[in-house]
Symmetry: C2
Subunit: 407 residues, 2 copies
């Protein structure tokens, strides 16, 4: 696998564009378009929140009920959530305008929104934005980067990545971009991911790959435990790499999955590390678990614990909070068998052995925890299953971003 | 029901004392003792955390396997959690010394600790504290108050309450104290509650009353979603009120339960309102639910949402976050039927009707949310079940308390 430059325009036949439609922000781009020169099979995963935004409902219909998709239109600023029939109607108007300017079917257009909940989108500005983007579509790396910037809310960095693998003697490229975890206005709590590939793969296997992989990647990220109404990951495959079509599990599927896993893991860590107000990416690995499910439950409980997150911000080797969070997770284990380590660029240290302190050096632990990427590893000595979750520290800026919106 | 002054010494035959044992703090009391002149039947509810502190294990044995209890000894500063066999041995030494100085059986002594996890308690200071408290035991209101102060960690106010009811022609008193939600040192995340009554009630009915009632009171409180290793509520009944013994459900049991519910609700709200760094008590009521379980799930999801808690701190009528938190709770409901209100001393306002904004006045909403006790009421229009959860806002001071322990 080879890591290359770029994002959603890295794979053959994909173009992108961005524009400043003034939906809510001034002086920055706030709409992005992705277009494939040929129809794609599409896979998607969506928020499990009972309250689903209008674009989520629109996309579910396209992904689940249509054979192909060819374009994605995304806006930042307003989430088009809790907007009733009117909001859903705007999804259709957006798709209709996109279909018209690109000469493709309306039901092959996917839409996505992120921003304030409960506010209607200004549909005229959206359709004007669509018209402005169509002639600017380009397959350059820069065009992909512009799209990645346009979908940001208060993300502090754009998030994109691309890789190449060899499948059936052909070079297959996968590239993606995402946004998430930053907020300027209230309710901007959406994770959006867009991944494009020129792999030739059946719709069924594409969805299987994505559904399987999000469990280990995006679903293992938590910034604040609040699952958005808009969360969406879309994966488009246009087949232009010319590899023999992947229609079943096997070596080719595994190669594709490995590349997809790299893209999604990379984007997931970018979201966690750029969490609201975060100063550090916090990774939690559970090893020696009896089952994968147990490892997932334990790692997620630790990564979402407010007390643990505040301790990470304080560079404090506060292992009691980690053991406590594992204890209330709902998973069973023997606290008196747990070994716990902290690890970062600055080194690795064993903090507890069989549930009690090793008498470690607080100074050394603080040094390790002062890096901007820190990992806690808990070995529960029950088996061989593992899981990794990603989050961030809990800081003053998280409160500032989420409480002070009127200031 | 009559609300009276006092706490754990309000009921007949109960005495209390406190002392400064210098377990971890200097210049303040840090041990408390409760003693009943006659043996009590005892009920208890304990943390569900897999990681249980030594005193929790000790008390579970006394409450579940012994017929009576007569004293409680509690220290603040060190939690005696994750301390292995050594820590459990210290519980026994504490109980043995208490038994010796009070002339009661060792297995009728309950112990409780709150403070830092993973550190051994200085047992000599504990046993010296026990010896110092025994001669100071007193049944005055002041003695109860001193005990309530000694168990505080960074609670900013002592928490006690007492009521009287009439049962079988006799005046029955219930009084209680608790601590929780304040932190000075890391890992101090323990809720402890001690309730005493002179009611004559069987051990079985006492436990039934407590187990039933904690579901609606302490278990509906969340400051940060972190369930402690030490959480304990103990209820002692010594029978000195002389009412006919309550041995089954019926009018007398209901009267007792009503009084107990008042005590526990009052103490629960005191904990929530004094949450770490809190500026406001945040109450969430779900009404119109199909089942109690559904209402509980929804109310707890809202009260623990970091985004919602930060919005309450900002006095921001951020209803999208509340609907979002209901949506990811795991409970099913129709978002497009929800009505939502905010209420406080300053008034009541309808924010959304059938899932969309009522076009309410932001100014009026902010005025209502600027009080130090605010309530969100969501009507999901599916039935008649209700639930109320209590929490607090999420503030800069929460981060300060939990991250800056080295400063």
């Amino acid at each position: 696998m080879k890591i290359i430059e770029g994002g959603v325009t890295a794979a053959k036949g994909f173009q992108a564009a961005a524009t400043a439609a003034e939906i809510k922000y001034k002086g920055r781009t706030d709409m992005a378009m992705i277009y494939s020169e040929v129809p794609c099979v599409a896979a998607g995963t969506f928020t499990t929140n009972v309250v689903k935004a209008a674009p989520v409902k629109w996309d579910q219909n396209v992904v689940y009920n249509r054979s192909h998709a060819q374009a994605v239109v995304c806006n930042s600023g307003i989430a088009n959530a809790c907007t009733g029939a009117e909001g859903y109607g705007y999804c259709k108007e957006t798709a209709d305008m996109t279909a018209e300017v690109l000469g493709i079917p309306s039901d092959s257009v996917l839409v996505a929104s992120t921003g304030v909940i409960g506010m209607q989108i200004p549909i005229d500005r959206i359709t004007n934005g669509v018209k402005a983007m169509a002639p600017k579509l380009s397959d350059t790396i820069e065009a992909g980067t512009e799209a990645a910037k346009a979908i940001m809310t208060t993300d502090t960095v754009k998030k994109e990545v691309a890789v190449q693998v060899e499948i059936g003697g052909k070079t297959v490229t996968i590239g993606g971009m995402c946004k998430g975890s930053g907020m300027i206005h209230p309710n901007m709590c959406t994770m959006l991911g867009f991944v494009t590939t020129d792999a030739c793969i059946s719709k069924e296997m594409l969805q299987a790959a994505l559904s399987e992989n999000v469990k280990d990647t995006y679903n293992m990220v938590s910034v604040d435990g609040d699952t958005s109404t808009n969360d969406t990951v879309l994966l488009l495959a246009n087949g232009l790499a010319g590899n023999p079509e992947i229609t079943e599990k096997g070596a080719d599927f595994d190669t594709f999955l490995e590349a997809l896993n790299y893209i999604n893991t990379c984007l997931s860590k970018k979201i966690a590390g750029d969490g609201e107000g975060a100063t550090a990416l916090f990774e939690v690995k559970i090893i020696g678990a009896e089952t994968k499910e147990q490892a997932v439950t334990l790692s997620k409980s630790v990564v979402t614990s407010s007390l643990t997150k505040a301790a990470i911000y304080g560079h404090d080797a506060n292992w009691g909070r980690i053991l406590c969070a594992m204890g209330y997770s709902g998973a069973q284990f023997d606290p008196e068998k747990v070994d716990l380590y902290f690890e970062s660029r600055a080194g690795k240290i064993k903090i507890i052995e069989n549930g009690v302190s090793t008498g470690y050096s607080e100074e050394e632990a603080t040094k390790i925890l002062s890096e901007d990427e820190v990992t806690a590893i808990a070995d529960i000595k029950m088996g061989t299953a593992t899981a990794t979750a990603w989050g961030c520290d809990l800081t003053y800026d998280y409160i500032k971003i989420n409480a002070d919106y009127r200031s």
